[in-house]
């Protein structure tokens, strides 16, 4: 689990106020590293690259310690409470240097669905090209072009759109190309946090959950059902890994999300008043998170694969 721990540490630098998210992603990306090894054939497409941070860190890039995902937020757009509004929608993106160490890999095309994602991703020097694309729509690229497609967010698509998007990705792949994706197992339903607390009133649940439950569950299927689904749609599984212990899933579903706007307001003020003290505090905060959440980077002892909640697949065209 060294790779999970290493990724968690790197992810905490931009996401220090949302450690639960850094932890979840560290588990997911460690599974991807186990799945793909170090060889990623190009040309490569990242379908759903968001702001590029994750792939940048995954490929050995390092961010400056002073950079985080909040430093460019417009505080006025951060509402009091947990509305579903995207806090990050209108950042003041400066062209300043945020990189400490370049990534070891280049992704030929990064695609995301928000213009500010692309602006932020462009600063990382990871993508040769970036393009805007609506969630659930196909890829704006020539047919049979990519050797590898990495699609970290396919599960955000509604089930009825899932196969459609996959067909479009299939068209963009070379005959022997591969698609790498992560999807929830049916067990995610069993360990769904809110379903085990049915007494929490719906409006509170909505406010705290912010649509995450739907993202986690709408495409949840067993390994067998996923394989059948891939086969029906002209794919075969060439590699498979499971990841995410239930406890990490639970931590993710609440975490510091409810208090995020409050933390943000205090820290933004501190950053403005005493930058050095702010950086020192961020350092101590991250150390504290590492100390207290580090064991969650491990799989619990005697945890069978059946108890892990997510799948990572490498799939290829069934009939090249």
């Amino acid at each position: 689990m060294i790779i999970t721990r290493k990724l968690f540490r790197s992810l905490l630098i931009p996401w220090w106020l949302r450690p639960e998210r850094a932890l979840w992603d560290a588990h997911a990306f460690a599974a991807i590293v186990r799945l793909t090894g170090k060889k990623i054939r190009r040309p490569c497409l990242e379908y759903g690259c968001t702001d590029g941070t994750y792939s940048f860190l995954l490929h050995g890039g390092e961010l400056k310690f002073s950079y985080d995902d909040y430093c460019e937020l417009n505080l006025k757009s951060v509402p009091f409470g947990c509305s579903r509004k995207d806090f990050f929608r209108q950042p003041k993106i400066s062209p300043k240097q945020v990189i400490r160490k370049k990534a070891k890999f280049t992704i030929d095309l990064g695609v995301s669905w928000k213009p500010y994602h692309l602006k932020k991703a462009a600063r990382l020097g990871l993508y040769k090209k970036l393009a805007l694309c609506r969630l659930g729509n196909g890829v704006p690229s020539p047919k049979k072009h990519f050797a590898t497609i990495w699609a970290p967010n396919l599960f955000w698509n509604r089930p009825e759109r899932f196969a459609v998007v996959m067909r479009s990705l299939q068209k963009s792949l070379l005959a022997n190309g591969r698609l790498i994706l992560i999807v929830p197992d049916a067990a995610q339903k069993k360990y769904e946090f809110w379903d085990s607390h049915p007494s929490v009133p719906l409006h509170y649940r909505k406010e705290l959950d912010r649509g995450i439950r739907q993202n986690l569950l709408q495409n949840a299927k067993s390994n067998q059902a996923w394989r059948a689904f891939f086969k029906r749609n002209g794919w075969r599984v060439s590699k498979h890994e499971k990841f995410l212990p239930p406890l990490v899933g639970w931590v993710y579903q609440i975490g510091l999300r409810p208090l995020f706007p409050n933390f943000l307001k205090i820290f933004m003020e501190l950053r403005k008043r005493n930058y050095r003290a702010f950086l020192k505090m961020k350092k101590n905060w991250i150390q504290s998170m590492l100390k207290n959440l580090d064991p969650l980077c491990e799989l619990p002892k005697k945890s069978g694969l059946h108890r892990l909640l997510w799948h990572a697949y490498e799939i290829r065209r069934d009939r090249p």
Partner: protein
């Protein structure tokens, strides 16, 4: 609303004023204090004893006290460099006093006649609230030597379950409380162990769990069914007058995790904010509390997802067993002296 017109939400709000960085503790205490007021722990027959009043905040709020907005228990928390990230066991960050600290708290109408504490710093802290006429330092596990037999009208004992030897201290209560006097106390149900963080994190690093748990699982092991508690009380010369259950599992779950792992980081944030923008600091704290009140509303309801029977803690009103019954149980010798008396 019963409980002397203070609801859980009101108690939670008052607790948050001081415990804002540890909302899970405030939530737990609001349920406990609500149950205690329902059992009239704030209106015990005189003279009355507060057994284990800690820093006095809970006793003060039980007596309907209110603290000023600036009140903050973290004001006296100091985390030394050597403490930082060194783990949470053994570091009692609260066991410190800032000399000259004064809080403009309200005066409470009713006071406990006696308060027992087991830390020197608690003597000073509890003294500031004025909810006790006299405070005494007591060594846990020792008899209540200075309290004559049958001299008290009532005892409020919120920390009884911390004691190593429960029957020893219960026998002492039976001795010091006069016939028909009252003891109000709480204790965990046998089912609490099943709801602890340790269960949730089964299979993870044991030392890490121990650090997060801070000994609470040991206390949970003292949990008993109602029948179990009843047997213990009767063996110790007490009988149950009234019983209820409190603390829904969802509140326990929130308490088990809460912001505890981030405590050191939060205290640093608080201290820096206070130093760097003292003018704005209170408005940030106000926003924080407002947010927590809103978020915790479902957890302050009566059941919060559990039937009364499914709640994890018991609250009891006890009274000494009449001499006849004690005689029948062999607890009193023919000469009238209680066995096990100190």
């Amino acid at each position: 609303m019963k409980s002397g017109a203070i609801g859980r939400k009101d108690l939670f709000r008052r607790l948050l004023g001081g415990l804002w960085l540890r909302p899970e503790s405030a939530l737990w205490y609001s349920h406990m204090l609500y149950a205690a007021r329902k059992f009239s722990a704030h209106r015990l027959p005189r003279p009355c004893l507060d057994f284990g009043c800690m820093d006095g905040l809970n006793s003060f709020l039980l007596m309907n006290g209110t603290t000023p907005e600036k009140f903050d228990i973290f004001d006296e928390v100091r985390i030394a460099k050597s403490d930082s990230c060194s783990g949470l066991v053994g570091n009692d960050y609260y066991d410190r006093i800032k000399v000259g600290t004064r809080w403009e708290v309200t005066r409470v109408r009713r006071k406990f006649d006696l308060g027992l504490v087991w830390k020197k710093s608690h003597m000073t802290k509890a003294g500031r609230f004025g909810a006790h006429k006299n405070l005494f330092l007591w060594k846990p596990g020792s008899p209540l030597r200075d309290i004559p037999s049958s001299s008290l009208g009532g005892v409020w004992a919120p920390n009884l379950y911390w004691m190593q030897d429960l029957s020893q201290i219960l026998r002492e209560f039976a001795r010091v409380v006069r016939p028909q006097g009252r003891v109000v106390t709480i204790g965990p149900d046998a089912s609490l162990s099943e709801n602890m963080l340790a269960r949730l994190c089964k299979g993870y690093d044991a030392r890490w769990l121990q650090r997060l748990d801070r000994g609470r699982s040991e206390n949970a092991k003292k949990g008993k069914t109602l029948e179990g508690w009843n047997r213990l009380f009767r063996r110790s010369g007490l009988q149950i007058l009234r019983h209820e259950r409190f603390l829904p599992p969802a509140v326990n779950l929130a308490y088990e995790i809460g912001l505890r792992p981030m405590f050191e980081a939060l205290v640093e944030m608080r201290n820096l904010a206070l130093r760097e923008f003292p003018g704005k600091y209170l408005s940030f704290k106000r926003d924080w509390i407002r947010r927590l009140l809103h978020l915790s509303a479902p957890l302050l309801r009566d059941s919060s997802g559990a039937s009364k029977g499914g709640q994890l803690w018991h609250i009891f009103e006890l009274t000494p067993l009449p001499a006849k019954k004690l005689l029948g149980q062999g607890r009193i010798s023919q000469s009238g002296n209680k066995k096990g008396r100190a």
